[in-house]
Symmetry: C2
Subunit: 233 residues, 2 copies
């Protein structure tokens, strides 16, 4: 059923360069395959352990214990951002795949309208992003674009650009609008200089610790607290 | 400087059974070693790449790129919980080390007084917990204990026991006290039956998504949003 060449191609999809050149990606496990099949994306091939055998499944799977089923899915063509509107996120150079997946899950839960990401943010079809997103990538994928220009387009549309920093205004006592672009920065370096220069309001999640405390919150955690604050009002 | 036996012992500390029997754990990287040295814990040995060489460091390190420095630290004796007071967390069978580390970082940031954990929660000296905690484990470690009994002791002290569920009351419109025990459940199964039976108030973080959406939030993300809500009031 699967030729040696098929196996080689599917295994190669663990690497970004082959995902890019074939325009494909892999999802593993029953839940994810079911989500892929109902997502409207084109599923090129479904592979079941029952049919190909344990050994082949072990070779194909990127997981430590190979799942009963996996699928090869066609990458959708790039999403085109509509005009600036609603509550949106802009991810400035998020590098950790677990963080991107978790942020997409947060965006999905809190009904964030569009997630934008800088071109150097981790690729959404990275297997670890897909896993951490818990299937959310089938509904909510980042639109990769130039963030400084994006910020300017929101500002021109009279929608505020908010960023989280260690030295901003207390998020709990700020007025937060229902439409906004919220910028979240890189895990170590925060928001880049070019983007920070285009932020109209700097926010901080204050620490409630009495003594020395963690230097910062994880970026996905900070995203959750920030989006929760915008949404609850 | 390091005997073959020393190397063997340090490598063995990647496994819980050897951490338990030696009563030691390992931290890696300059920042973590500095935190260990200033933490008041007993640091048994500091190992520098400059002194032992690249090859030995590669053998000792559990990281994909070996750090310039690592340390072997003595496990502190078990923390004894004081009487029920303040804002506390109870982790009911959290299994993912990244989640425990991230939750400790959240607890540190928001000044949670004590973090309790069920005995089947992942061990705090697991290298992945230490890494995700970003050094927080030197200030904030879980007290492992029987959670049903813990819930009863809070209830007896007239402090409410809160839990997050998919079917609770909207957290944004509930009255939340400054003293509370907040229970967070397992990644797949949520709060266990025995603990759920002792929760006095069931809370939910509502979804703001219009259509189908993620089935749940990651447990560390849910912890952050919940603790943020308790603290901001």
């Amino acid at each position: 059923m699967l030729s040696a060449n098929d196996i080689k191609t599917i295994r190669s999809l663990r690497e970004k360069k082959y995902r890019d050149s074939f325009g494909l990606f892999v999802v593993e496990g029953e839940k994810m395959v079911a989500e892929a099949l109902s997502s409207g994306l084109s599923v090129e091939r479904v592979i079941r352990r029952d049919e190909v055998g344990e050994k082949t499944m072990e070779r194909l799977s990127g997981l430590s214990s190979p799942p009963p089923v996996m699928a090869v899915v066609k990458q959708p063509s790039d999403q085109v951002p509509g005009k600036p509107a609603g509550l949106c996120l802009a991810l400035d150079s998020i590098r950790d795949p677990g963080n991107l997946g978790t942020i997409l899950r947060i965006a999905d839960w809190f009904g964030v309208d569009t997630v934008f990401a800088s071109p150097d943010t981790v690729e959404v079809f990275n297997p670890k992003v897909i896993q951490a997103s818990m299937g959310t990538i089938f509904r909510k994928r980042p639109v990769y674009c130039n963030l400084p220009l994006l910020c300017e387009s929101f500002t021109s549309a009279s929608i505020g650009v908010f960023g989280t920093f260690l030295d901003g205004d207390d998020i709990y006592s700020c007025e937060l609008p229902s439409e906004a672009l919220i910028v979240m920065g890189n895990e170590s370096d925060g928001v880049s200089r070019e983007v920070a220069a285009r932020v109209s309001r700097r926010l901080t999640i204050p620490s409630f610790s009495k003594g020395t405390h963690a230097e910062s919150l994880n970026v996905a955690v900070a995203t959750a607290v920030t989006v929760s604050e915008f949404r609850r009002r």
